[in-house]
């Protein structure tokens, strides 16, 4: 199975690990991520302004590219996923935005939200299947107690993202079980890390991250996993090194026995 792949800027720089581990794991699991050519930055934040469409065009371009290739669009970064999925919903359901974006794009055939947007975790759950993944694990992470950190972008707005139950998600816990480790359920796993507020009000973000980490550690987690580079940044910056944070793809690659291979590259 071939998917159109939108890595996003951070995965080309700071979060290059997230990207590499995702690609090699995909190959091992039997699907291919075909990077969209000349993709542009999603903007990092879903633009709430309904009168401004320029900030949505990067997403529309990527979505339309996937449509033209007849492929579903896969993202790994939570922020990119959030932005692209919501813009896709606009293109499908908001007449005004769709009309104006298409006027601007001048495509051969107008884009109307036809592309299915999937997060990498959704591919694992819905296309590969966690049972199938479990079978391919060669180095199970037995004994590791892992707290899934969802953050907010993957889950909310719940109806629109339709990713998992925003109040009691299970997808990352199921992933953790599939790679042989033990999930630790703690109440702050779906709370916000502060996001970009860390640039303006560092203390606020610090306070939010501290709560997340104390709660996870309190319930017995040895480490956290995330799908979001910004969450990773905030958590790492604020935790004083007490609780290591990994991208879920790194642990996936490790369980599939591919970590060394990537690290050598």
């Amino acid at each position: 199975m071939k998917y159109s792949y939108f890595p996003g800027c951070t995965l080309k720089n700071k979060a290059v690990d997230l990207d590499h581990y995702a690609r090699v794991s995909a190959e091992a699991l039997g699907f291919e991520l075909e990077e969209i050519s000349e993709w542009q930055c999603c903007g990092g934040v879903y633009p709430l302004g309904t009168d401004e469409i320029a900030t949505k065009l990067a997403s529309v371009r990527a979505l339309n590219d996937a449509k033209e290739h007849g492929q579903d669009l896969v993202t790994v970064c939570s922020a990119c996923h959030h932005v692209i999925k919501r813009v896709n919903d606009d293109m499908k359901n908001v007449d005004d935005i769709r009309t104006r974006a298409n006027n601007y794009m001048k495509l051969d055939e107008p884009y109307a939200g036809e592309t299915t947007v999937l997060h990498y975790l959704e591919v694992l759950r819905d296309r590969v299947g966690f049972d199938e993944l479990k079978k391919k694990v060669v180095k199970p992470l037995t004994g590791k107690k892992i707290g899934a950190y969802y953050g907010c972008l993957l889950l909310r707005p719940g109806k629109l993202m339709a990713f998992d139950d925003p109040e009691n998600p299970t997808i990352m816990e199921d992933f953790i079980r599939a790679i042989g480790a033990e999930p630790v359920i703690y109440p702050y796993r779906n709370e916000c890390c502060g996001g970009y507020i860390s640039l303006k009000e560092e203390d606020m973000s610090k306070n939010m991250c501290r709560k997340i980490e104390e709660s996870a550690a309190g319930f017995g987690a040895d480490m956290l996993i995330t799908a979001c580079p910004l969450c990773m940044y905030n958590l790492n910056k604020n935790n004083g090194g007490n609780l290591p944070v990994y991208y879920f793809t790194e642990l996936l690659a490790e369980a599939l026995g591919l970590k060394e291979e990537v690290d050598e590259q």
Partner: protein, 662 residues
């Protein structure tokens, strides 16, 4: 040719403000057959009916069109008025220019045009009306009550006291319903069992009341006054006549791990069980899914220890068929599932409970023997937080749009009881509004606040956060203080919304009784006929019709009983003459009408017919007038146009359509 009178009602300003009634009168006079037309402020009033009476007499009218409200409202009124003046009541047609016109339009010109069209269609129909005479049907003087909670118990007692036999069908092994699970009742704080169990005993002992517990309604056929109901008596595996209720079987039963339904799963019960000590009847049932004997064939201990020899593993379900004149639905409610409200951590922490669970915890016969304690570690809570409106008054589709009505009061009750019994325990209640519209209700709530020091905070809770140390953090908003609150609690109690018993859909379908989008049974009229279903002979008692507390339920149960008694007291009922008939010369016996008839009113007969001089025997549809409800399904299905409905004939319907399209 008919001589038709058209009467246009203003309904105060309900109609007249949007419809030019004078114009409707003027236009009516141009319609074929119309010899008289007039308007009046309130046509349904005494004076309005007098106008109709006078016009019939003076103008020798043979048919009437009343342009007014829905026929559901006043068709009977105007038919009776016509009959008094010597006209056949079925010569009256209603043009609904209120609900179908004035209430839904704003523009006077448009609304008037539509009112004229509706009038015109009704006139066209009256022109083809023929006098009809209702038949008679008998009334079976026995009532069925579905549901054995306080609503069903009260209705059954009231009907039986009037001298009519009643059967109660209850799904669970005992009557008593939700009320039997409650500890105390507001606003008087009397013990629920103390006021309920005598009623349960009374029902059990009443010579005219027969109780089918562990039973379900299987099918319903027939119509008002003459229902035939099949009741499935599920195999109890215990002989009701032999069992003495000694309880030894329950004590000795080795399978004791099934969550107790009665205690909301907070503890377990044996496989052979009565739901609670005061169960009526005091005869256990064997839960075959949990019983070792049924699962493995080995065990049989209950049978060995039963002195009375009442255990019967070979018992099978039994179907009882009974006839009833009236059916009362009293199927009650349950609390909603909280799986969509995981922000309150109900599934994550044992110390987050529902109000009904707290009710069991507070009860002396409950899982903790009446001691208020945390289910996680058995410790007494020092800080309790109550969260109101969990799933009630919910704007999105996670919960219910309605107010569950009872939660404000029972939460005040819980708060007060806890403060009274455990003065060291602090109680905080998060609320959207406190609603106390009932006799002595607000006084009760004020007592909780003023005398018992319960801390009420206006605002909702966003999240309940279990802490590694076992405590719960409640994150909410205080809207009056305009600040965020983070409060540590030992226990959190959720006032979950109530919803109609899920079985009600199935039952409503069997009864052809309508239900609303929330699965509450619909009443015939929201204000004027609140305990009757639009389906004749079906009455509503208790929460199956809408959220209500015990006093309201008991009042409504009594009202439903009175309505049922009013029906049972009649010897005969007039039947609807608007029934279907098949034209034997057109019918080809294809069976399609019988297939669509929801009442089983159509059968086939081999009949000799004379078709243009050719005599032959044909298979022909025959309609049973007593069963036909005049729904018209057969008339639209019949491919040869043989089926026709009296009062709504194919010619009449087409004449109406023609009049509308003219």
């Amino acid at each position: 040719m008919q001589r038709i009178g058209v009467f246009v009602c203003h309904c105060g300003t309900n109609i007249a403000a949007t419809v030019d009634v004078k114009k409707v009168v003027e236009m009516a006079l141009h319609e074929p057959g119309v010899v008289h037309a007039e308007d009046y402020a309130y046509m349904c009033s005494e004076a309005g009916q007098e106008l109709i009476h006078k016009a019939i007499k003076e103008k020798h009218l043979t048919g009437l069109v009343v342009c007014s409200c829905s026929p559901r409202m006043h068709e009977t009124t105007f038919r009776n008025a016509a009959e008094k003046a010597g006209l056949n009541p079925y010569m009256v047609e209603i043009a609904n220019i209120r609900e179908h016109c004035s209430w839904i339009h704003k523009d006077i010109e448009e609304a008037t045009e539509k009112a004229v069209i509706l009038m015109r269609a009704a006139v066209a129909k009256v022109n083809l009306d023929a006098p009809l005479k209702p038949g008679e049907s008998r009334v079976t003087k026995r009532a069925l009550v579905i549901g054995g909670g306080i609503a069903g118990i009260q209705t059954a007692l009231d009907i039986a006291e009037a001298g009519y036999p009643v059967d109660i069908v209850e799904k669970t092994p005992s009557i008593g319903g939700r009320m039997s699970q409650l500890d105390k009742t507001f606003p008087t704080l009397d013990c629920s069992s103390c006021i309920l169990t005598p009623k349960m005993g009374e029902v059990n002992a009443h010579p005219l009341i027969n109780i089918y517990t562990y039973s379900e309604v299987e099918s319903v056929s027939g119509f008002v006054g003459d229902f035939t109901v099949e009741i499935r008596k599920k195999a109890r595996s215990v002989d009701m006549n032999k069992c003495t209720g000694c309880g030894v079987c329950q004590e000795k039963c080795p399978s004791k791990k099934t969550p107790s339904e009665f205690n909301r799963g907070l503890n377990t019960r044996s496989a052979i069980y009565t739901p609670f000590a005061q169960a009526v009847p005091n005869v256990p049932v064997i839960d075959r899914d949990a019983c070792i004997k049924f699962k493995t064939g080995k065990c049989g201990i209950c049978s060995k220890v039963c002195q009375a020899g009442a255990i019967d593993y070979d018992q099978i379900d039994e179907i009882v068929t009974e006839k009833y004149g009236a059916i009362v639905v009293a199927t009650g409610f349950d609390m909603i599932k909280l799986d969509k409200y995981d922000e309150y951590a109900y599934s994550q922490s044992k110390d987050v409970i529902t109000s009904l669970e707290l009710e069991r915890i507070m009860n002396a016969a409950g899982p903790t023997g009446g001691h208020l304690e945390r289910l996680s570690d058995g410790k007494a809570p020092k800080e309790m937080v109550f969260i109101q409106c969990v799933g009630s008054r919910c704007a999105d589709n996670r919960g219910k749009s309605y107010c569950s009505k009872i939660c404000c009061m029972y939460t005040a009750k819980h708060a007060m009881l806890i403060r009274d019994k455990y003065p060291d325990t602090n109680v905080t209640v998060f609320y959207i509004d406190v609603r106390t519209p009932g006799k002595n209700f607000d006084e009760f709530y004020r007592r909780a606040v003023e005398d018992y020091g319960v801390n009420y905070i206006k605002g909702q809770v966003g999240k309940v956060i279990p802490q590694p140390n076992g405590k719960l953090l409640v994150q909410g908003a205080d809207l009056l203080d305009n600040k965020q609150i983070l409060k540590e609690a030992d226990m959190v109690v959720l006032a979950a919304a109530i919803e109609p018993n899920p079985d009600v859909r199935k039952i409503a379908t069997m009864l052809t009784a309508s239900i609303d989008t929330n699965n509450f049974l619909t009443e015939a009229h929201a204000k004027l006929r609140p305990v009757e279903s639009p389906t004749a002979g079906i009455f509503l008692s208790g929460v199956c019709q809408g959220p209500k507390d015990i006093p309201e339920t008991v009042s409504q149960a009594g009202a439903a009983a009175v309505k049922a008694i009013g029906l049972l007291a009649k010897d005969k009922l007039l039947t609807n003459p608007c029934t279907a008939h098949s034209d034997e010369l057109l019918c080809n016996g294809c069976s399609q009408c019988a297939n669509v008839c929801p009442y089983g009113a159509i059968t086939y007969e081999d009949k000799e017919v004379n078709d243009h001089g050719v005599r032959e025997t044909r298979r022909i549809a025959v309609v049973n007038d007593a069963l036909c409800q005049g729904c018209g399904a057969c008339t639209v299905t019949c491919p040869s146009g043989a089926m026709d409905l009296q009062g709504f004939s194919n010619r009449q319907i087409l004449a109406e359509v023609d009049a509308i399209c003219r």
